[in-house]
């Protein structure tokens, strides 16, 4: 299916209010820049809504907005984040992505090159995951009323029929797995802001997690009980949500937490707990205790899962909480992030 359309080029050097006014300038922005990069049959129809047949079974739907500053940082950019973030919300729901939507709020005065670069980053991330961006919207606000680009994405996915996830399924004896080293995204953003005179080679871990979560579903089926990506608030916040929602105590081994040396060093310097630092490419999975070895093997044999590890276990708790045990016997409560040490990281 293809639609023939006249070739429109977008030559404007920067975004102005007229590009959001719905007239000719808007048409040139959408048809000359955004649509060609996102091009797919559902989008190319340029109707008011993308229309397609619903697949059988359960569907998953998720929304996320992105306001990260700076727009580009080592390891990624806002566009890539906007696609991966929403894909990952589907992935940890054991849903295979069907399609995405993308809505932009642009600040007048934004260089077109910056927008083009981010639309390309979104298109590339979506292509890598094999997911079309089928609908979108663009608005422009006055200069000074926004910070370059804000992006909202929505994701629709089909839940794998073999999966049965939920906090109600978590029970004592289950094992908690982590997909890889933590803290890279938050620290990469912090250092990229150049407010600190610290230089370190830390790159954001932004990536799509669908391959890893699919490997777990494939391997475990219903023995996979709960998943969540550890974004804002970090692993600590996700584990506390798990403890609270499942009404259990989660105990982790302090030494088991994988943190790259350079991230650990930066966290030590700044007094941050890596467990509370954001990630954009890691998730926590709770699996039946007797399947933990198999689950770990499945993760580690999947590209990107080589550094997956066993983080801790679930115990019946009188009171839901997360405890970290150190090798010498010290125990501490791992709390949720309070306040916002690092605003606008995604």
């Amino acid at each position: 299916m293809s639609v023939t359309q006249e070739q429109i080029d977008f030559y404007d050097k920067q975004i102005s209010m007229s590009h959001g006014a719905g007239g000719e300038a808007s048409r040139r922005l959408i048809e000359g820049l955004i649509r060609p990069l996102f091009s797919n049959p559902l989008l190319d129809a340029l109707s008011d809504a993308a229309i397609f047949a619903a697949p059988a079974g359960r569907l998953a739907m998720t929304a996320d907005s992105f306001v990260v500053q700076p727009l580009i940082f080592p390891g990624g950019s806002i566009g890539e984040l906007a696609v991966n973030g929403t894909l990952n919300d589907l992935a940890v729901s054991a849903a295979r992505p069907i399609c995405l939507t993308a809505a932009f709020i642009l600040e007048a005065g934004l260089p077109t090159e910056v927008l083009r670069r981010e639309v390309e980053a979104m298109a590339n991330a979506a292509r890598r995951a094999g997911v079309p961006i089928v609908a979108g919207d663009t608005k422009v606000v006055e200069h000074g009323r926004a910070d370059g680009i804000y992006i909202s994405t929505t994701g629709l996915g089909q839940v794998d029929p073999r999966a049965d996830l939920g906090p109600n399924r978590v029970q004592a004896g289950d094992q908690v797995l982590l997909s890889g080293p933590i803290g890279n995204h938050g620290m990469a953003i912090m250092l990229a802001r150049a407010e600190l005179d610290i230089e370190a080679d830390i790159r954001s871990d932004t990536r799509a997690l669908g391959g890893l979560t699919a490997a777990l579903v494939e391997c475990l089926g219903a023995d996979l009980k709960w998943m969540r990506d550890a974004t804002r608030g970090g692993v600590a916040t996700v584990l506390n949500e798990l403890a609270r929602d499942a009404e259990v105590t989660v105990t982790i081994a302090e030494e088991a937490v994988p943190v790259d040396d350079v991230v650990r060093g930066a966290c030590e310097l700044l007094g941050l707990d890596p467990l509370q630092v954001a990630n954009e490419g890691q998730f926590i999975a709770v699996v039946a205790g007797h399947r933990a070895d198999a689950a770990l093997a499945a993760l580690r044999s999947t590209p990107g899962g080589e550094r997956a590890c066993r983080l801790g276990e679930v115990a019946a708790g009188r009171r839901p909480c997360v405890l970290a045990k150190a090798a010498y016997g010290g125990v501490r409560v791992v709390d949720m992030l309070i306040g916002d040490p690092l605003p606008r990281i995604c």
């Binding site: 909480c321 010498y328 016997g329």
Partner: protein, 375 residues
């Protein structure tokens, strides 16, 4: 990671704990104060208090700079921040500390230009980048951070930056320790001495503690092994019936201190006749102010500061907790009205505050009904 992992080594920690158990006479109760907020934080973060024998009790001292800052000073600072021509800068620790009309972060939400800096030099840089505006650096801290403020003022003068001022709230640790030792409701067997402060002032200023009060003190680093080794040093002295100043943190702390830093402090600051400490009241000669030769960079001399005095909320027992008379969870508000998310006292705000550390990391001593996870 080098210089960290060695001091978190499980074997070393176990050995030190074993030694503490051997040294602690079961017939005695030991109350040892860690003066520094950094130590308080580390003790809870690593769960050290729970590993100690029950008769070795750590009392959390007044060494958390934002915790001892009276509310009036915060109100004064935020009044300056209300001027649209002012860029108000402070360390991140300050941002959530409540004054009587809210915290710096709340001022920022209302439109004040409030910025976090990691060094006063960054505030000076902001002043250079914004020549049309006035940049206020809200200086807090003990002798640990005061030298960086001093160096920044020296640089501001050298560069001729005229739109930069410091609102000085630096305090000094020795008078606070003396006030605690003189406090009638306080009985301490020993001290774990502050590490960072001592890198600047050295170990000599603590000699009066051993000489006049017969109290052992060990200046300590911040890793688990450091803190436990310092406790071993204190207990050994108590066992031997001696009292002296020991330096556990000798890899960083020179006995005589940092001469260059002390010179900068002396050039820029002088001692205030008295200064109010939250919870401890007015303490003579316990804080620093900017010398007249730097008056052009002194917010107190160049800007309208009312010097308001604000009483702490009546029910809050920050003072008793600061002095170590009450444990954090014994305060009437702890975990109820006062939580890290909605702090009433500053001790609940700073990660170095005893209440926040207690709330965040301690769990076994807490009554069951506390809303530990609502945060």
């Amino acid at each position: 990671m080098k210089y960290v992992d060695e001091f978190r080594d499980p074997d070393m920690i176990r050995k030190a704990l074993h030694e503490i158990r051997l040294l602690a006479d079961p017939q005695r109760h030991y109350r040892v104060m860690e003066v520094c907020g950094g130590h308080t934080h580390a003790i809870f973060r690593f769960g050290l208090n729970e590993l100690l024998p029950p008769n070795v009790e750590l009392i959390h001292g007044p060494g958390c700079p934002v915790c001892v800052l009276p509310m009036g000073r915060i109100d004064d600072g935020l009044e300056l921040a209300g001027d649209p021509n002012v860029i108000f800068t402070a360390f991140g620790d300050m941002m959530r500390v409540p004054g009587s009309k809210g915290s710096p972060l709340e001022s920022k939400a209302r439109g004040a230009d409030v910025r976090i800096v990691y060094s006063p030099l960054d505030a000076l840089k902001i002043a250079q980048q914004n020549p049309g505006r006035r940049v206020v650096f809200f200086a807090i801290g003990f002798e640990t951070t005061a030298p960086s403020t001093a160096l920044t003022l020296l640089r501001a003068r050298a560069l001729g930056v005229t739109n930069f001022v410091v609102f000085c709230n630096h305090v000094t640790i020795i008078p606070a320790i003396r006030a605690i030792l003189d406090s009638p409701d306080m009985r301490l067997e020993g001290f774990i001495g502050p590490g960072h402060v001592s890198t600047v002032i050295g170990c000599r200023p603590y000699e009066f503690i051993a000489r006049d009060y017969r109290c052992p003190i060990a200046v300590s680093g911040f890793e688990p092994v450091d803190i436990l080794q310092s406790l071993v040093m204190v207990l050994r002295q108590l066992r031997a019936g001696v009292a002296k100043v020991e330096n556990q943190y000798s890899r960083v702390v020179p006995w005589e201190g940092n001469m260059a830093a002390l010179r900068a402090l002396a050039e820029v600051f002088e001692v205030r006749p008295h200064f109010e400490w939250r919870g401890l009241g007015f303490i003579s000669h316990s804080a620093l102010r900017i010398r007249d030769s730097f008056a052009a960079w002194d917010a107190e001399k160049t800007m309208p500061i009312r010097g308001v005095s604000v009483a702490d909320p009546k029910a809050a027992q920050c003072g008793e907790v600061l002095k170590g008379v009450l444990k954090p969870h014994q305060c009437k508000l702890f975990g109820k009205e006062c939580t890290p998310e909605h702090p009433i006292g500053a001790l609940m705000v700073s990660p170095e505050g005893a209440c926040a550390a207690h709330f965040k990391y301690a769990h076994l001593e807490l009554p069951q009904q506390l809303p530990i996870l609502q945060g």
